[in-house]
């Protein structure tokens, strides 16, 4: 087996590998070609930074309740010398307690809760998407490359799961398994892996007839090698775009589940929960629900713009 004779074989791929960093930077530079993608990545990076720097950025602990600031309007400060309770006991306000975005129904700082709330969203949504992608790619490669009865079974099962209206499926699943972070992770994976599988399968059906796959088959490579090293990297373009959209959709899902009272359990400050908790006061002190809504919408918007820009860039080539 002489690797050198194949220029586009695995040997060629290894020669290019030292440039991975440069290639990554070049890909990032490509984003500048589309203003949509640039703004999109900007918004996403902003929220990632907010999530990472939450302990520094948040002016108050997200569970700190200051009684005098219940349903406070944005920018109001507490009157001095009013009593409120902390874990240590009763304290008195100094007059310096100011809530930039107002207080919620329990007197907690909405700004701090939004800042801290970026964390659960940006941990669980990518994790769920990643898990769904792992399962979807694996099954899609199997179905598309091996074909035969395996393909038939996997396609039928995914058709059946996809025929459920998504939210109905989530509601039923979470009723059965109960609400916890892991269960929501699994429910999202279960519901979105079939869709990913279908996309991967479609791409593989197209790619499996290429010459480089035939070359690898002739070399006697194992089918796992061909699936993951030859086919998968060549299917990455559409998958990256889809991943951005799906991540945005998963974020919406987590928000919706939180809003419906089926999401990540309290006292988690995830944005959906913030809206759910303050729904009853939504019409008297709207700041407690409006700002979390803007937060979640902007993050999803960032991801969708990124996806749209990436698609535009990939079509230009």
């Amino acid at each position: 087996m002489t690797d050198q004779t194949f220029e586009t074989g695995p040997g060629g791929a290894e020669e290019r590998r030292p440039n991975a960093l440069i290639r990554g930077l070049k890909t990032l530079a490509l984003l500048r070609e589309s203003w949509m993608a640039s703004i999109g990545i900007g918004i996403v990076i902003f929220w990632v930074l907010v999530a990472i720097l939450a302990p520094v950025l948040a002016p108050y602990p997200y569970e700190q309740q200051i009684g005098p600031l219940v349903n406070a309007e944005p920018g109001t400060c507490a009157e001095p010398d009013r009593p409120y309770f902390t874990d240590e006991g009763m304290e008195r306000t100094t007059g310096d307690e100011c809530y930039l975005l107002g207080g919620d129904n329990l007197g907690r700082d909405i700004l701090s809760r939004i800042i801290w709330g970026a964390r659960p969203i940006l941990i669980w949504a990518p994790l769920a998407t990643l898990l769904a992608y792992t399962a979807g790619i694996f099954l899609g490669l199997l179905a598309g490359y091996k074909r035969g009865w395996l393909d038939d079974i996997l396609s039928r099962v995914s058709d059946i799961i996809l025929s459920f209206p998504v939210l109905v499926l989530y509601v039923v699943l979470i009723t059965v398994v109960g609400r916890s972070n892991i269960n929501i992770l699994l429910a999202v994976t279960f519901a979105s892996a079939p869709g990913i599988m279908r996309i991967v399968r479609g791409l593989v059906l197209d790619l499996r007839n290429r010459d480089y796959v035939a070359a690898a088959q002739t070399r006697g490579e194992s089918s796992w090698y061909i699936m993951f090293v030859e086919i998968l990297p060549n299917a990455r373009g559409p998958l990256i775009v889809d991943a951005c959209l799906r991540l945005g959709y998963t974020i919406i899902t987590l928000g919706v589940l939180g809003f419906l009272g089926l999401g990540l359990p309290p006292p988690d400050p995830n944005w959906g929960n913030l809206i759910a908790e303050n729904r009853t006061v939504a019409l008297t002190s709207p700041q407690s629900v409006v700002f979390p809504c803007i937060a979640i919408s902007s993050l999803v918007l960032g991801l969708n713009m990124l996806a749209d820009g990436l698609r535009e860039i990939s079509l230009k080539d």
């Binding site: 949509m36 058709d159 059946i160 025929s163 459920f164 209206p165 998504v166 939210l167 109905v168 509601v171 039923v172 699943l173 979470i174 009723t175 059965v176 945005g248 919406i252 928000g255 919706v256 809003f259 419906l260 009272g261 089926l262 959906g272 809206i275 729904r279 939504a282 019409l283 709207p286 629900v289 409006v290 809504c293 803007i294 979640i296 919408s297 999803v300 918007l301 991801l303 969708n304 713009m305 749209d308």
Partner: protein, 310 residues
């Protein structure tokens, strides 16, 4: 054609059957947890045992499934523990309300999104195209609960011109329909518009359109008579499939606006562990979803003669 139709229908029924088995298994395989849900966490083992025995839960699951399926098919959906009534009595009126909501939504959304999509796809890359695409990216990024919050902030809290809930306490009222319908349209129209745009753009690049333009036909006529017919085939499927999305959307919207519909009912059933009601609601949702998918498939094949019936 008849063979194709028959195959599609058989496949549809098989899917519904498979889904019903999955649903039933998910909800009823663990009888112990059903007893806990109905009797509460503080019931004793003996109580649970007696309750399970009395309600026939100790029989094998396939016996219970066949019995449930038989009852479901004749319209007997069981008893709702939450509403203390027969499930059918509460389900049908709720379904009617949701149907009304869907009717309004589709009636307004389809013309808007088709028009926008056609205008955007007519001249790909033009300013109109870019603005419409950007608008649809924005509207599909705002989750339904967020646009519900933002719209009620504007129209209920700020301007005070619309009611914040849509419970129809004084009978049907058009004003109470406005906000729920608006939220559903805002979330859904972008997708249909973009699909229409993509389809239109593709058709506009095809040789026969170029021929028509080069022949010197007026642009309007080329679009109206030549392009539209082919460009609207793909959106047809997308629109029919939107019903599936709408079934998810109504849960959020009905819950938010206290609209007495099917989605709110499913959620209430789920939050109160009302097993019979969850089963009936989920099953109806799946029947609607699978049914519309079949209609979309058949319709697409019928509209596009290039697809052979196989």
């Amino acid at each position: 054609m008849i063979v194709f139709l028959a195959r599609r229908l058989v496949f549809m029924l098989l899917t519904m059957l498979a889904v019903s088995i999955i649903l039933f298994a998910m909800l009823e395989v663990n009888v112990e947890s059903i007893a806990v849900r109905v009797l509460g966490a503080y019931s004793t083992d003996t109580q649970r045992e007696i309750w399970l025995e009395a309600n026939g839960y100790l029989r094998p699951i396939y016996v219970r499934y066949i019995e449930w399926l038989g009852n479901f098919l004749v319209g007997d959906f069981g008893e709702s523990t939450r509403f203390n009534t027969r499930v059918a009595d509460i389900l049908w009126p709720r379904l009617g309300n949701t149907g009304l909501l869907a009717l309004f939504t589709f009636g307004i959304m389809i013309p808007i999104s088709l028009t926008l999509g056609v205008f955007a796809g007519m001249r790909e890359g033009s300013r109109t195209d870019r603005s419409i695409t950007f608008l649809s990216v924005i509207t599909t990024s705002v989750p339904e609960f967020a646009s519900a919050v933002l719209l009620s902030f504007i129209f209920v809290f700020w301007l005070g011109i619309l009611p914040g809930t849509s419970g129809f306490t004084d009978g049907f009222s058009l004003r109470e329909m406005i906000l729920p319908v608006m939220v559903l349209i805002i979330y859904d129209f972008g997708y249909v518009a973009r699909m229409t745009r993509a389809s239109m753009a593709e058709v506009m690049q095809s040789p026969y359109i170029r021929t028509a333009v080069l022949k010197g036909l007026p642009y309007r006529r080329v679009v109206m008579r030549h392009a539209l017919r082919n460009a609207l085939i793909a959106p047809f499927t997308v629109i029919v499939l939107q019903i599936n999305w709408l079934l998810s959307g109504v849960i959020v919207v009905e819950y938010f606006f206290a609209y007495k519909g099917f989605g709110a009912l499913l959620l209430e059933a789920a939050l109160n562990n009302d097993i019979d009601l969850i089963q009936a609601c989920a099953m109806i949702a799946v029947i609607v979803a699978v049914g519309t998918q079949t209609i979309a498939d058949i319709g697409y094949t019928y509209l596009n003669p290039r697809i052979r019936f196989t």
